[in-house]
């Protein structure tokens, strides 16, 4: 009987449980790197459908960065107040009105949103594109990576409010997948 073991140090191109079985297949000459389904896969690539690519490019081409960025960051600081820990030098964050009107929050929100541009332009290599920013967030800014998800959720809500009916389930799925890939890349260099 084949033994499946949880592999703590498996290469990322192997399935969690299937690792050993796939390894055996490879050893017997079944071919190159294989996933659980036996299909060959370039371990670096996130696969994007045409719809997903088009959706992401479309959303960002129409994005009002100076509106959405500040709104998303302000919302994050208001809805998840513990995130304020990273902005001690931003002045008045005492209540929702202060946060929403804070010019430093606005400026930083816009900066963050433009930071996503590089992912939009390099959708096939987001991991490498964000390596440097990941080191920055980990080594210099010391941001708990859980916060990336909180900001992503707030950004999703702000974009949903902007697009209204156009923010369909399919569009939301594409947008959230994109943000999840960015979040994962940003968390990669933490140790």
């Amino acid at each position: 009987m084949t033994q499946y073991t949880l592999q703590a140090h498996r290469p990322s191109n192997r399935c969690l449980w299937e690792g050993r079985r796939v390894a055996l297949k490879v050893a017997s000459g079944a071919g190159d790197l294989q996933t659980c389904t036996g299909k060959p896969r370039d371990s670096k690539m996130v696969e994007w459908t045409d719809f997903e690519r088009a959706t992401i490019v479309d959303i960002f081409s129409k994005m009002q960065y100076e509106v959405v960025g500040p709104a998303a960051l302000a919302r994050c600081l208001i809805v998840y107040p513990w995130t304020q820990r990273y902005f001690g030098n931003f002045g008045n964050l005492y209540n929702a009105a202060a946060i929403s009107g804070n010019p430093m929050v606005a400026k930083h929100g816009t900066t963050i949103l433009h930071g996503l541009d590089r992912a939009v332009k390099n959708m096939d290599n987001i991991k490498a594109t964000y390596a440097e920013l990941s080191v920055l967030h980990s080594e210099k800014l010391h941001v708990d990576p859980d916060n990336f998800k909180l900001l992503s959720d707030c950004l999703t809500i702000v974009v949903a409010a902007q697009l209204g009916k156009d923010f369909t389930g399919e569009v939301q799925a594409a947008f959230q997948k994109f943000l999840a890939v960015v979040v994962s890349a940003l968390g990669r260099q933490y140790h």
């Binding site: 919302r75 946060i99 809500i157 923010f167 389930g169 939301q172 959230q176």
Partner: protein, 143 residues
């Protein structure tokens, strides 16, 4: 992170508007969830049709919003108020509680699309807390 009086007031204030389109909101939020988080479809394989806007989805969205309306009315003691629903989810439906967060997120997104002006950061905060509290009350009887 329990609900303070400000949260309860915020929830009740927007609920007035939500209740008027509750059926649509419920159906849309549920449809959204089934598309964005396909793993949630595993709970509905007994439906003849799981597609967005289908009859079973609409009916179920209405049911969910009814439950949330009950929660709003029992907002001062959710654990007691939702005891029966908790027993249903724990022993009959056996929905993994991680899905409460997923559906909550989809309802928040739906509220943002339908009420872009009213769904301010403050309302978002209070509803996020409210849904978390409802999820907790629903999980009460699980073990």
């Amino acid at each position: 992170m329990s609900l303070n009086s400000k949260d309860k007031a915020a929830v009740k204030a927007l609920w007035g508007k939500i209740a008027k389109s509750a059926d649509v909101i419920g159906s849309e939020a549920l449809s959204r969830m089934l598309v964005v988080y396909p793993q949630t479809k595993t709970y509905f394989t007994h439906w003849p049709d799981m597609s967005p806007g289908s009859e079973p989805v609409k009916a179920h969205g209405k049911k969910v919003m009814g439950g949330l309306g009950l929660a709003v009315s029992k907002i001062d003691d959710l654990t007691t108020g939702l005891m029966e629903l908790s027993e249903k989810h724990a022993f009959t439906l056996r929905v993994d509680p991680s899905n409460f967060k997923i559906l909550s997120h989809c309802i928040l997104v739906e509220l943002a699309t339908i009420f872009p002006k009213e769904f301010t950061p403050e309302e978002h905060l209070s509803y996020d807390k409210f849904f978390a509290a409802v999820g907790l009350a629903l999980s009460e009887k699980y073990r």
